[in-house]
Symmetry: C2
Subunit: 405 residues, 2 copies
């Protein structure tokens, strides 16, 4: 009988712990095949320093239950890139540690870079006759992994973005005076999350009136024209921009500000594109302007967790365990959306080497021709992913988060 080890890597999401929950639950179910269920603390990086825990023994039933609605990464995370050269001594060191712990199954929950780790470890295992099975479980709010319909973490972040944008729109509409509110949303290279802001729109002329993704070059002059046109429709405008919008030369709009902004002590002031655009519009239009950076709460809000997303994240975790037991290795769990009128999702496996170090942008035909709005195809794609609210265990008026002290 072999043991199982699981780790978390990269930026956290609202449901990365749901995937961890799925791995633990399935691991406990498979007690005939799996003995201990270990968790690496701070991913591969921590494991190399012998930091791990026995999840079955050390987690209380209450902690296990709370894990499902706790954001962040319960096990801690890392941004550790394994060397390209598979003859590097870190590999035998790692596998020695795996073998010392009698590990038969290795799971890594993460995004692009984490799948790179899964790829390297599985290639090393294959070429060195190591029998350990290595499977990746996708996670990223950015939704930019290829070969999967979407990624766990995106639905909850999209729901946070849509609800927050709707509420900021409500807040912005209470006064009669003309105003522009610019909302900066995460996503440096892919605009999936920013696109989700369209879900906040309740009727045709409703906010957000303008949406800009990094998939289309951004032009300040066109932006001002878009605003003027939008002002003919309504007095308070909400504009959503991806943090990664850039001009046709590839220069990020946030860099426009960073080049020259200095504070009283001469220190360079770094700000985002939202703040830059706020100042730009302020100095070009005689209207009230403000900017809101949704910031890290996008990826860690419990209250706006999507039940669909949480369930799918857990499913991805348990599917990975069953698949590994059936022999899968060098794979990533993927989501397949079945054709048809309803929303029907199933899990599959894809070659992890085909996933890592690639990025999936929003299809250009899901962005309107004028470059400042999102098409109905995206809405049909994204709407099922934000459905349902999980029951949140509460304590002292706040979500009862699971945590390692």
């Amino acid at each position: 009988m072999k043991n199982l080890i699981v780790g978390q890597s990269g930026g956290p999401t609202a449901v990365i712990n749901s995937s961890l929950f799925g791995v633990i639950r399935e691991g406990m179910k498979q007690e005939k095949h799996i003995d201990h269920i270990y968790g690496m603390i701070n991913g591969i990086e921590g494991f190399l320093k012998d930091r791990y825990m026995d999840l079955e023994k050390e987690l209380t039933p209450e902690q296990l239950q709370c894990l499902r609605t706790t954001p962040g990464a319960f096990l801690g995370s890392c941004r550790y890139k394994l060397p390209e050269d598979l003859s590097d001594p870190v590999y035998p060191k790692l596998f020695q540690k795996f073998n010392a712990l009698n590990i038969g199954y290795f799971f890594y929950i993460g995004g692009n870079d984490s799948m790179d780790t899964v790829s390297k470890l599985s290639r090393y295992a294959e070429s060195h006759g190591e029998s350990i099975r290595i499977v990746g479980i996708p996670k990223t709010i950015d939704n930019d992994l290829v070969l999967t319909d979407h990624t766990p973490g995106f639905g909850s972040a999209a729901k946070y973005v849509a609800a927050s944008v709707a509420e900021i729109g409500i807040d912005a509409s209470v006064y009669e005076a003309k105003s522009v509110t610019i909302i900066e949303i995460m996503g440096r290279h892919a605009g999936w999350l920013t696109a989700a802001s369209v879900l906040a729109r309740k009727f045709k002329e409703d906010n957000p009136v303008l949406i800009y993704l990094p998939e289309v070059p951004f032009c300040l002059e066109n932006f001002m024209k878009d605003l003027e046109k939008a002002f003919t429709q309504r007095n308070n405008l909400v504009v959503c921009v991806s943090e990664g919008i850039h001009d046709k030369d590839g220069t990020f709009i946030c860099e426009y500000a960073g080049e020259a902004g200095v504070d009283t002590f001469g220190h360079k002031m770094l700000t985002g594109c939202g703040k830059y655009l706020e100042n730009y519009v302020k100095s070009h239009m005689n209207v009230k302007v403000r900017s809101v950076e949704l910031n890290v709460n996008q990826r860690c809000s419990t209250f706006s967790q999507s039940l669909t997303d949480a369930k799918e994240a857990s499913l991805a975790g348990s599917f990975a365990v069953s698949a590994a037991l059936e022999g899968a290795t060098g794979k990533m769990v993927s989501f397949v959306r079945e054709e048809g009128p309803g929303y029907d999702l199933s899990c599959d496996l894809v070659d992890v080497n085909e996933v890592c170090n690639k990025e999936k942008p929003v299809p250009l035909n899901w962005i309107t021709a004028d470059g400042c709005d999102i098409s109905d195809e995206f809405i049909a794609y994204a709407l099922p992913l934000i459905q349902g609210n999980p029951a949140i265990p509460m304590k002292n008026g706040l979500p009862n988060y699971a945590y390692r002290k």
Copy 2:
């Protein structure tokens, strides 16, 4: 039989519409005494332009139900200050309009400035023999109104702050590397909301490790020392600052940045104190630093609405109507917390002239002597106000907000 009119004024909150709901519901109950229930659109300012609606006729039962969990100001708001001089022609103009609509009861939901409106209108009515009864219903996330235990709107904003700070703390703790996360929270003059961040702390050494309110002068030098001391306890530090922190000379910390920050086009870059402190710590300490401005979502989040706050906001609205029917005028509804071990609240009336244009700061003995933490007395005060989650009507995966198109 007389009619009722209600308006909303000042910045919106998550539960200002619960108070509106309370007014409408009580008004409908009192059908023997109240005929029409009117709502001013954009407060006094809109009413002066004859903008109002019949809330009983024009609101569908679904809208009325959704009102309870819709943030913002359903009727629209204004920031309109009535002239100090009660012989100004705007007063007879207003009362002419009231009388034309056969208004017997006037309710204004708002903060400090709105109570100034209530004060002036009731003083004018008294001195001019107008029989209309005028009552204020408190609302402000800032919790800075005097003569009331707390204000509707504070509990939900406090819950948003506490939950968000806890989640940012979880997010910040996933990596091992030393880091500082600075969270900027609303409150220019009073630190109530920033103080609520202490509710996020799950155990003694937990984040937020440092909390700075505007009630105590802020000193950059001490701040750096506080950080260094905190780093001896843990690697990732979450620091909460009120937007209104200022030095001993009264200069806002956010002004330190605004004095010199300019972008590539020479435009002045305005940023908050959080961003300023981020840049300051970055240039003085070799650790990862980021800042998060919680921004407008603090006052308009549906998902983190406190059920206690929503119920009390509604109660304040219905109490105002009953009180006016019993003869009250020139009053504001206040909250009285009963002495004793449990949390027991009742409504009372206070002289609105004693409320307007005053501010209630956080008591200095609720701030620790070192000026960077909050005492247990505050926790005992604030904890009951964030309890309970309302059932949120949902539509397409998002809260079903009530809105005027």
